[in-house]
């Protein structure tokens, strides 16, 4: 009987993930076999190769035929494909930045492990992207999280790094516990871990039994868990500390991949498992208010607390909290299908500008030895290219016209505006955006006005320069010609990610 199960499964669907696993194994074995005296700096290419291979396999799955393995514990649909592309591209870019290392860096001893952990975190995110079963979603998220804990804490000579790792483990563990505890009640009501079945049974349960309180409680507990993972205020306190303690490439990984994975988890959970509730009037409004409050508080806290930060990574962390808030203004108006286009566009843009900004912080802090604001003093006189690129990323994060960040923000606000009465959120977005200009410009002012501490060029490796160039092109390109990306995203059949497989087949006929 078992053999039959194996034979019926289309294992070829898993090729992108398998490629990553192959990369991990190859790195492990090469590290083991190679004598200790040989430099391991080129190991990044193995990682890069497996990511590019995986990317090729993902692309080769186009045109997409939605499919499932084993009751949705693995699932391939347009939504998962888009997110996988996002995760893979982001990790490839971050890996390129991570390969730019100082000579004789103490962490070089564990260079193989560092790349392995990045790949395994990516693997977790990819599995999370392609599942509609809570167990796979959860294990994928935990694989991502545990790899990230280690990545944050692995520079063990630095007090800040280990402390950041510790905080991340504890906050991450608490958020997992909240999520699980909350989900256990839903399991009690539905007896399933499949999101579609969960949605169906909740629809019945809500009508027939007095279980409202349980659903409210589990929703609240799970939202706490999600808000931790996505670093939405008031559950954001770990993010600045962790970003500051982690190395810059790892911090950008957390800011981009972890956050996007959390958002995808939340989208699937709310729009599949909670769908019957969202459609009912009483429930829909309550859930939307909860999300709206999270979004508003994140925008306000992120943008105001960033004002008094002195460390660039902390500023970027608070900026990331605010960006998550911007993204969330669209969730309360869940009706329209346009939201996916806006969310997708914003995530891509956010990925570009965040990776770019962190890459420059990495390059600069490698030279000056810290990430304080002062290390950016007079950057324009030392490396004008870097200073201009950084300015571009900061403008994009702030949402100044002609950058991709502006288009993304306008797109989000317009679609929110079109679909509901959440004008309060939009005005919060406008006001906090204006506040945010202050701290973004503070960095720009440092780079252009202050005197430089040295007159030497900031050394930069070919790969960092390449990444920054790619990201700059993206930020400007999508700012001037957003249709390039928007038209692509509009052709994606996002809705297929939210309905069962049979539903898709019916739609096609």
């Amino acid at each position: 009987m078992m053999n039959k199960v194996f034979e019926q499964i289309e294992w070829s669907l898993l090729t992108p993930e398998t490629t990553i696993i192959a990369g991990i194994v190859l790195l492990l074995l090469t590290d083991l076999v190679l004598p200790a005296s040989i430099s391991r700096r080129w190991f990044g290419f193995i990682g890069l190769a497996s990511i590019l291979g995986s990317l090729a396999f993902v692309v080769s799955q186009l045109p997409l035929k939605p499919a499932e393995i084993l009751f949705g514990t693995y699932r391939l649909d347009p939504m998962s494909l888009v997110f996988k592309l996002l995760f893979l591209t982001a990790t490839a870019l971050i890996l390129l930045v991570a390969m730019d290392r100082k000579k004789g860096d103490k962490t070089d001893r564990y260079i193989a492990e560092e790349y392995i952990l990045m790949l395994s975190a990516l693997l977790g995110a990819m599995f999370l992207a392609s599942s509609v079963d809570v167990i796979t979603l959860f294990i994928g998220l935990e694989l991502l999280s545990i790899s990230s804990y280690i990545l944050v804490g692995m520079r063990k000579h630095e007090r800040l790094s280990t402390e950041a790792g510790w905080k991340y483990v504890i906050y991450g563990g608490v958020s997992s516990a909240f999520f699980l505890y909350g989900y256990s009640f839903l399991y009690g009501l539905s007896g399933t871990t499949n999101l579609f079945t969960l949605g169906q049974s909740l629809a019945e349960v809500v009508q027939s039994t007095q279980s409202d309180l349980f659903i409210v409680a589990s929703l609240c507990l799970m939202l706490v868990g999600f808000a931790f993972k996505i670093s939405l205020a008031p559950f954001h306190m770990w993010a600045p500390d962790v970003y500051q303690g982690a190395s810059s490439p790892v911090a950008s990984f957390l800011a981009v991949v972890s956050k996007a994975a959390g958002i995808l988890f939340l989208i699937r959970f709310l729009l599949i498992g909670m769908y019957p509730l969202l459609r009912s009037e009483v429930w829909g409004e309550n859930i939307m208010w909860a999300l709206a409050i999270l979004a508003a508080v994140s925008m306000i806290v992120g943008n105001t607390v960033a004002l008094r930060q002195q460390n660039v990574k902390r500023i970027l962390a608070y900026s990331g909290i605010a960006q998550a808030g911007y993204l969330f203004i669209i969730f309360p108006s869940l009706q329209s299908n346009l939201i996916f286009v806006s969310v997708g566009f914003y995530l891509v843009v956010y990925m570009l500008m965040t990776i770019g900004a962190f890459a420059i912080v990495h390059v600069v802090s490698k030279d000056t030895g810290n990430e304080e604001l002062t290390s950016f003093d007079g950057l324009v006189r030392r490396s004008p290219g870097l200073a201009i690129a950084m300015t571009l990323f900061l403008f994009s994060l702030a949402g100044i016209p002609l950058t991709a960040g502006f288009i993304g923000k306008v797109n989000l606000s317009l679609n929110t505006f079109a679909s509901g009465q959440m004008w309060l959120l939009i005005s919060t977005l406008l006001v906090t955006t204006v506040i945010s200009y202050y701290y973004y410009f503070r960095i720009v002012q440092r780079m252009f006005v202050e005197k430089a501490t040295s007159d030497q060029k900031v050394p930069i490796s070919f790969f960092s320069a390449l990444t920054i160039l790619v990201v700059v092109l993206g930020t400007i390109g999508f700012g001037i010609m957003p249709d390039l990306l928007l038209s692509k995203l509009e052709t994606v059949k996002w809705g297929y990610g939210l309905i069962p497989l049979e539903g898709i087949q019916q739609l096609k006929n």
């Binding site: 545990i146 402390e163 510790w166 504890i170 516990a177 009690g188 007896g191 399933t192």
Partner: protein, 101 residues
């Protein structure tokens, strides 16, 4: 036996675990408390797998997965704790305060 008693037990353990995470100073005990929170979630899952609206084994399987995750988390947490201890000779969670602002 009423399901409410099992759920109440899990709730009490969950909250005690949360208390421990928030207020304990010895970092090992903080990790311990975290495990207690995950255990409370497991009790809930197992209870519902016997007495839920749709009782089945999925809950127990989920609980087993959680044991795996919790063990991995504990191992990583303890390893990081040792690294911290080597750096500064203390595991007093209140002194982990270099990162702030």
């Amino acid at each position: 036996m009423l399901i409410a008693s099992y759920l109440a037990l899990a709730a009490i353990l969950f909250v005690i675990g949360l208390m421990g995470v928030l207020t304990k100073r010895n970092a090992v005990i903080v990790l311990f408390s975290l495990e207690l929170m995950l255990n409370a979630a497991n009790i809930n899952l197992v209870t519902f797998s016997k007495m839920g609206l749709v009782p089945n084994l999925n809950g127990q399987v989920f609980a087993l997965f959680n044991v795996v995750v919790a063990a991995a988390e504990a191992a990583v947490g303890l390893a990081i704790l040792f690294a911290i201890y080597r750096n500064r000779e203390t595991i007093d969670a209140e002194k982990f305060n270099l990162l702030k602002g």
